[in-house]
């Protein structure tokens, strides 16, 4: 796998891209690029069509970028690149945030306007209703199914031996 920098004119959107990119989301991507950099290369197929990264491509064009980093996935068949394009989006959206951990993280970010990206700084709902017992501070004992090792984790998944 290699990253190449190519001219934006050399790549093109896939006409049947099923993912919606709203104007608001493009503005958010542009702000993310300005604040943190262009950190995620665009995956393209052998004909220069984008497999994943349509939103970043539109944002880069609007920001006046002449070149963008790309990864060429030339080995995929036509059907595979179309399937992977959907699967890539699906797998990133199929799970959400742990709202407790999210709230902790957001509370420590002061320099960046996280609401702009769609985060709500205060939880609108009480997550405790999703637990039968509010045991989130518990330490849980885990026994590894593979080697039988016994260890402990907290509710965030941090391993405590």
């Amino acid at each position: 796998m290699k990253i190449k920098y190519v001219k934006v004119s050399e790549i093109k959107t896939y006409p049947q891209n099923a993912k919606i990119h709203t104007g608001e989301q493009i503005e958010q991507i542009k702000k993310s690029i300005k604040e943190y950099g262009f950190n995620d290369p665009i995956a393209i197929w052998r004909n220069g069509e984008i497999i994943e990264g349509h939103g970043r491509y539109i944002a880069a064009v609007e920001l006046g970028y002449e070149e963008v980093p790309v990864i060429e996935l030339t080995e995929l068949t036509d059907e595979e690149r179309r399937a992977y394009s959907l699967v890539h989006n699906q797998l990133t959206t199929s799970t959400g945030f742990d709202t407790d951990v999210l709230a902790e993280e957001l509370a420590e970010i002061n320099q960046y306007d996280m609401e702009y990206f769609g985060f709500q700084l205060q939880n609108d709902f009480d997550t405790s209703e999703f637990y039968e017992n509010d045991d989130r501070n518990d330490i849980i004992e885990v026994v590894c199914e593979n080697c039988g090792h016994k260890f402990h984790v907290d509710r965030k998944g941090n391993v405590i031996e």
Binding site: M1, Q16, A18, I20, H21, T22, E24, Q25, Q28, S32, Y36, N39, D40, A43, E52, G55, P69, I71, L73, L76, E79, E80, R82, A83, Y84, L86, V87, H88, N89, Q90, L91, T92, T93, S94, T95, G96, F97, D98, T99, V101, L102, E104, E105, E108, I109, Y112, M114, F117, G118, F119, F125, F130, I140, C144, N146, C147, F151, V153, G157, V159
Partner: protein
């Protein structure tokens, strides 16, 4: 900052301790399947000391795949601590902020035969089922955590295998 791919042994990568993104056992299985079918196509972004910025799900997946020893990574060392923590959240959030055009999605799904898209959570004929559309549309709203989302996956500190926390 020019992006570059480096290959690292998967054991050298360290998850971020306060990663807010949930990775269920089901999702990790889907990521494994995606890697098997399409390859490892999306490098993991890491910060200082090989701490993961984005790609926790992919890391959990490869830890369970014996034939994958090394993974492609991109170093984002120039970010400050606050930047990498903000970017981690923003990266995940921005992909969740928009959904699908269901007409195009349906057309695409109808022309994919060699890949079992249902395994990845796609519902074929979603347009015929109003309830499913409601479910999919509501994904664009704030996601309420479901109980089943709370099944955590952790790595055994002894053998490195992925273990589900009850």
């Amino acid at each position: 900052m020019e992006l570059k791919i480096e290959y690292l042994s998967k054991e050298e990568l360290r998850p971020y301790a306060n990663n807010a993104k949930i990775h269920t056992g089901e999702q990790v299985e889907q990521i494994k399947k995606s890697i098997e079918e399409f390859g490892f196509n999306d490098p993991i972004a890491v910060w200082h000391d090989n701490e993961v910025i984005e790609g926790h799900g992919r890391l959990l997946a490869v830890m369970e795949m014996d034939d994958i020893k090394e993974v492609p990574i991109i170093r984002l060392d120039e970010l400050t601590d606050e930047q990498r923590r903000a970017y981690m959240l923003v990266h995940n959030k921005l992909t969740m902020n928009t959904g699908y055009n269901f007409t195009i999605l349906q057309e695409e799904l109808e022309t994919i035969f060699s890949v079992d898209m249902v395994k990845y959570g796609f519902i074929k004929d979603a347009l015929d089922d109003i309830e499913d559309i409601d479910n999919i549309l509501s994904d664009n709203e704030i996601q309420k955590p479901e109980k089943q989302d709370k099944k955590m996956m952790v790595l055994c500190p002894c053998c490195g295998k992925l273990v589900e926390v009850a």
